[in-house]
Symmetry: C2
Subunit: 254 residues, 2 copies
């Protein structure tokens, strides 16, 4: 049986902690610089919490640093343990953990909030270890909570993180722009929630090239002109409309 200490108490710590608990990994306890947060998460996961880094048991198999990128190295340097030390960051090298003998990455490629109802099917996890043996150990642990575990290099991870910015952050900003266009014209965002969901559903069993539609895809210059006219009041949206349409047209003719 695997045992793990979770360091951190935010969204990723909570979500992964719940999955570990659900699938039978022994969570030895929670540490967070803010003790009340550690206590809260410990209650949810029915485990202990530690008041200081020194209290953390040294005999766990894994130590999961589910904390913000900028704190990983500092907290890692304070840990005196023999188990595998892992961080959860898409944008951070494993090298910041190299004061340890065994270290690596367990990066969930997902947007995670405290109340996310994620399952092993909906949480791909990218892993990396400081050597083959450690990577095997990380993989064996990660397989318990995810049905999509990928061994990828730091270089690949950086690009996967960038792809996620397009697929999540920028997509959400498109939703925001659509929301403003609707609101400014007396229309509810409710009107487009179904098309947003269907757009994401479709791509679960297709590739984006197959599901692309719209004026730019069919080179419909009249509709594009009409949209640009409507967007005169929104110069920034207009510029994005033009660039995105040009991108679709260009991809079309490739």
């Amino acid at each position: 049986m695997n045992s793990i200490v979770i360091i951190g108490s935010g969204n990723v710590a909570t979500c992964l902690g719940k999955l570990f608990k659900q699938y039978g990994v022994a969570i030895l306890g929670i540490y967070s610089p803010t003790v009340s947060h550690a206590k809260n998460l410990a209650e949810i996961l029915e485990t202990d919490y530690f008041l200081s880094i020194e209290e953390i048991p040294t005999d766990a198999d894994f130590y999961l640093l589910a904390i913000k990128d900028s704190s990983v190295e500092e907290i890692s340097n304070q840990l005196q343990v023999d188990g595998v030390v892992l961080h959860c960051s898409g944008a951070t090298s494993i090298d910041v953990l190299n004061t340890h003998k065994k270290f690596g990455v367990m990066w969930p490629l997902q947007t995670i909030t405290k109340n996310s109802q994620l399952t092993p099917d909906s949480i791909p996890i990218c892993i990396e270890g400081n050597n083959e043996m450690v990577t095997n150990e990380i993989e064996q642990l990660t397989n318990i909570i995810s049905n999509k575990v990928e061994r990828i290099s730091f270089e690949q991870r950086k690009y996967a993180h960038l792809a996620a910015v397009f697929a999540n952050n920028f997509t959400n900003h498109l939703y925001e722009m659509a929301s403003q266009i609707l609101e400014n014209n007396g229309l509810s965002f409710d009107l487009i929630r179904p098309i947003i969901l269907e757009t994401a559903n479709k791509i679960q069993h297709a590739i984006p090239n197959e599901t692309q539609t719209g004026p730019a895809k069919r080179n419909d210059a009249t509709s594009i002109e009409q949209h640009l006219e409507l967007l005169k009041k929104y110069p920034e949206f207009r510029q994005l409309y033009e660039l995105l349409s040009a991108g679709i047209c260009k991809h079309n003719t490739q």
Copy 2:
């Protein structure tokens, strides 16, 4: 009981036809300039098909023109009927139908393919009639197949259509860009399908402003710089990255 003739045999004709059939609207038959297409859809909907416009019965309550925008006016002008003539276009005025006494719009705000498994909850429909009485008739019919029927003006419809371009067409193009970034780095699109779905799921019960995350949202200049560095090989993606990030930052500080 309502009766309807469907003119067209594409995705919208098929999807709305199936919903009408499922919810008990009498489909008197299908007309399409391509007879074999009309025949196919008529078989699916277990109804008749017509070999010419002249064969279309004149006593239906509704005539649904589910055909491409550029053909609506021409086909409408050939119809000699007393029922309500409807088109399904987001970008076309109802005025192109004004040779009829009763006319209007039934525009599904959804991305529709032949195999779409849409339900009354997942297909908002925007309607408009040439007068209040006609709008009431259209609303009563539309309520049968949609739980989200909105009376909106042509001006509003144009903006709703534009919002849908952002929420669907442009979102899909972001998926395409993410897919290319992954593929060029030896990674599978499968890796980000879950985050795409979760992004759309989250917004079903939130507004985009609440769900925005990422480097631009937290003004993380270091991450943004790193991403722009990675995007040097993709000048067009880079330009979009900059514009979208600027949009998120700006929205943040508003």
